[in-house]
């Protein structure tokens, strides 16, 4: 099980829950589980999100494995200048 911290708009879409648990070994599995469990997250995830694993921010990396016990945070997608 992965503990996923939700931040910003994603927290609101998950009914205000700051943390949810899902079964996932990769970012892809994580996102598809979240979409299933929390339909309101689907449009936001489709629009683009980033996933931080142990402090490293991944913007598009479906196949990135999620090591057991790692800290996982779901963030809005970000871009710079």
């Amino acid at each position: 099980m992965v503990q996923v911290m939700l931040s910003g708009p994603l927290k609101a879409a998950a009914g205000g829950r700051a943390e949810v648990e899902v079964e996932a070994a990769t970012i892809h599995q994580l996102l598809s589980r979240l979409e299933k469990d929390h339909p309101k997250l689907k449009p936001l995830i489709e629009r683009g999100v980033a996933v931080a694993i142990d402090g490293q921010i991944y913007r598009d990396d479906w196949l990135r494995p999620i090591p057991p016990g790692s800290e996982v945070v779901l963030l809005p997608r970000m871009a710079g200048g």
């Binding site: 911290m5 931040s7 910003g8 708009p9 927290k11 609101a12 879409a13 009914g15 205000g16 700051a18 629009r47 931080a52 142990d54 402090g55 490293q56 921010i57 991944y58 913007r59 598009d60 990396d61 990135r64 800290e71 945070v73 963030l75 809005p76 970000m78 871009a79 710079g80 200048g81």
Partner: protein, 758 residues
């Protein structure tokens, strides 16, 4: 060496990385040969011009182009009707910004365009186009736009992320909340709590090269586009969608780019030029005037912010709260989310909360500007931190050190930090002679810290070994600040050959795989990573060729100092083969030798900076002058130190302009009053002192050499550092940007009258 091997830049002896060679595009750029956006021409080329709305908010009832079409020399006219009725939702706002639909939403919004045989004819034709406007009430101020009863831009705009969802449309696109703990609890533990409201005006990236492109669409529907952009692959994909072409049928070449700073990460005139060219069946050159750049390309947000921070007498920050209100122009997407995420990112806080509101107004759609959203948020937060330091009589760097984020700190935007360099920067700043230098009369010193994420992204690099042992490096990220030099350095480092044996070019969209935009301080990080991996791929192949020649297994060959060598005595005794030897034999040992890397580079390391500014205030006129300035920033590893320093200095200079003079000024009529370099005042050489730099190197574990992006962080601290300096010199806390003379004089007079002391 394995592809994922990381060198420790603190112990590894680099041969060429870290040196300061001349840039490969240098001679062309000092002799006038370099070709920028407006420097290309084509046979039979037409001149394109765009008609823009003079009204900040108006329904476009009809557009009559009949008279203009009859003018001799006019070859094509396009309006909203020449673009698809519907596009992918993610591109809708881009399309409606490129060419107004039902409504013109800001002064300068494009409504039609012509292509003609000369600029004079095109200008005349624009005057003959009749647009029937129904003028609507407008709003340009962020606070006014949020008020009930404000003119509504989009009748379908329901504020996102609010439960329950509002019933009525408003100008608030979304509410975004970040943080952890409960600031109210934190404030109860504080000895001092300061709450202030801050305002900043919109500023423009101010690149000296106006947007320019040359489009050519043939009768067979294939097209070519020459354009100054930070991302030609993005331009290709976006334009193909907006004008309805197959991506494969559009080839985009990135010209040399005359500055971007985020402002050239989207499209404005490119789809229009393509539509005109397709309609006219001739090449069309479209170049924005400086006035158009200001009125119709993206500045950053103007903001209104409330910040509240509590601290104990011992200097522990117990809680932080901020409400950020950013207007991002006529469409959703102000950088308030990034502002909210970065506002308190420098601090290790138990209780922190930031709420951001994304607001639309009748202004041009904002575009990314260097660390979008972060400088304004840092201005507000770092000003309050400075005020608290004075309240408890603590040195401002000391207060920041006591609360600085470090490895393992839970960031205010969620994740825990891994290896970061904020404390190193603060220590370096405190040690710097500038920090202890005496101040003159009417002078004040300000310090501020700043944070930026830095990004990676999709990157594709090819490295071709030429017959003479030189190397052609092919990248797909436009060079906006000397990156070709850094790429050559990294390739030379890996191959073990001299810098001048490697030549880097930026390939067009048909010659290389997709590359994300040169944005988010990503190029040296991600294109660098891809270049290193492409070089290592080439080395593997070179070793295999040597093994073939010697008739020994490939894994018995190692690469050292530009030569293939047997890995040891029992591998056999052979003369090392140089890159040149192997290149010469390539045809006979299996054909061309090339290294490649296709990667979605994630793992860019966040970075921090600390700036120091000395400001002098003329007490009789309010005029502010920056007398001394120092930038300290973590670069992870500086590949070409001169261009790292250049990024530090350039960001600081833009910040100085933002803090003191730059601002979008709108009249009551909703029209931009200063769309030119005369009254939109970017710093000139005589406004600035030398800008001292200190490069701190705390390696980024996500990059083989430890590189962190450096392009954006340098614009985050200046607004606050200068505001803190001016507040100290003027004896009154400055909470509004720009700190132009009338504002400062008024504030000082107010303070005399018993106003808020600093």
């Amino acid at each position: 060496m394995p592809l994922d091997a990381n060198l420790d830049p603190r112990t590894h002896e680099f041969k060429v990385v870290g040196t300061r060679p001349l840039r490969p595009d240098g001679v062309d750029k000092v002799t006038g040969r370099a070709k920028f956006g407006a420097d290309a021409n084509a046979p039979g080329m037409l001149v394109g011009k765009i008609l823009r709305s003079p009204h900040p908010h108006a329904r476009v009832r009809s557009i009559n182009t009949a008279k203009a079409a009859k003018l001799p020399g006019v070859k094509a006219i396009v309006t909203r009707d020449d673009f698809p009725a519907s596009v992918d939702p993610s591109l809708r706002d881009v399309l409606y910004n490129v060419m107004a639909r039902e409504k013109a939403l800001y002064d300068g919004h494009a409504v039609a365009a012509v292509a003609a045989t000369s600029a004079a004819v095109a200008r005349k034709a624009l005057k003959l186009i009749q647009v029937d406007y129904e003028i609507l009430p407008h709003v340009t101020d962020v606070d006014a736009a949020m008020k009930p009863g404000a003119p509504i831009l989009h009748k379908d705009m329901i504020t996102e992320n609010v439960e329950p969802a509002p019933k009525k449309a408003s100008n608030i696109a979304g509410r975004h909340e970040f943080g952890h703990g409960d600031p109210e609890v934190g404030f109860k533990q504080a000895n001092h709590v300061v709450e202030r409201v801050f305002k900043t005006e919109a500023t423009h990236q101010g690149y000296i090269e106006p947007h320019a492109c040359l489009a050519s669409v043939g009768t067979d529907g294939t097209g070519e586009l020459w354009v100054c952009t930070q991302g030609h692959f993005m331009v290709r994909d976006t334009c193909a969608a907006l004008v309805g072409m197959d991506v494969s049928k559009l080839r985009v070449t990135a010209s040399e780019i005359g500055g971007g700073f985020g402002g050239k990460t989207t499209v404005f005139i490119e789809p229009v030029a393509l539509a005109l060219s397709r309609k006219a069946g001739k090449p069309v050159k479209l170049v924005m005037s400086r006035e158009e750049v200001f009125r119709a390309s993206g500045p950053t947000s103007s903001t209104s912010m409330t910040v509240k921070v509590g601290v104990t007498n011992a200097g522990r920050i117990t809680g932080g709260y901020a409400e950020l209100r950013f207007q991002g122009g006529a469409f959703t997407g102000s950088p308030v989310v990034l502002g909210a995420m970065s506002a308190f990112a420098c601090y290790d806080l138990e209780h922190v909360k930031v709420v951001g509101y994304d607001v639309v107004t009748n202004r041009p759609k904002q575009a990314a500007y260097r660390a979008p959203g972060a400088p304004m948020a840092a201005f507000a937060v770092e000003s309050v931190i400075d005020e608290l330091a004075k309240k408890i009589g603590m040195d401002p760097i000391e207060l920041r050190l006591k609360n600085a984020a470090k490895e393992g700190t839970k960031s205010s935007y969620g994740p825990k930090y891994n290896s970061i360099g904020l404390i190193d920067c603060l220590e370096a700043a405190r040690k710097h002679p500038h920090y202890s230098a005496p101040l003159g009369p009417n002078q004040g010193r300000g310090v501020a810290a700043g944070f930026w994420f830095n990004f990676g992204g999709q990157t594709c690099v090819s490295l071709n070994v030429n017959i003479d042992g030189t190397v052609a490096l092919v990248v797909g990220t436009p060079d906006i600040g000397g990156s070709r030099a850094s790429m050559c350095l990294m390739a030379a480092e890996e191959l073990g050959i001299p810098y001048d044996k490697v030549r880097a070019i930026v390939a067009d969209t048909s010659s290389l795989g997709y590359n994300d935009i040169s944005e988010g301080s990503r190029v040296t990080f991600s294109t660098g990573l891809a270049t290193i991996n492409a070089a290592r791929d080439a080395v593997t192949k070179l070793c295999a060729r040597a093994a073939k020649i010697w008739g020994i297994p490939a894994d018995a060959v190692v690469w050292e100092n530009g030569h293939a060598k047997p890995s040891g005595p029992n591998a056999g005794n052979f003369e090392p083969l140089s890159l040149e030897d192997l290149a010469k034999k390539a045809a006979k040992t299996g054909g061309p030798i090339a290294g490649h890397c296709e990667v979605n580079a994630d793992g860019a390391g966040v970075s921090f900076a600390v700036h120091m500014a000395d400001a002098e205030v003329d007490r009789e006129t309010g005029r502010v002058q920056i007398k001394r300035y120092t930038v300290v920033q973590d670069a992870g590893k500086a590949i070409h130190p001169s261009y790292v320093e250049g990024q530090f200095q350039g960001g600081a200079a833009q910040g100085i302009g933002w803090a003191i003079n730059e601002e979008y000024i709108y009249g009551k009529d909703g029209r931009l009053q200063n769309p030119g370099f005369l009254d939109y005042r970017i710093p000139v050489a005589s406004d600035l002192p030398m800008i001292d730099t200190v490069i701190v190197e705390v390696p980024n574990p996500g990059h083989p050499y430890g590189v962190r992006g450096v392009g954006e962080t340098s614009i985050v601290p200046p607004l606050a550092a200068i505001a803190n300096a001016v507040s100290a010199a003027a004896g009154v806390r400055m909470t509004q940007l720009p700190m132009s003379a009338p504002h400062v004089l008024k504030a000082m007079d107010g303070a005399k009258g018993g106003g808020a002391r600093r």
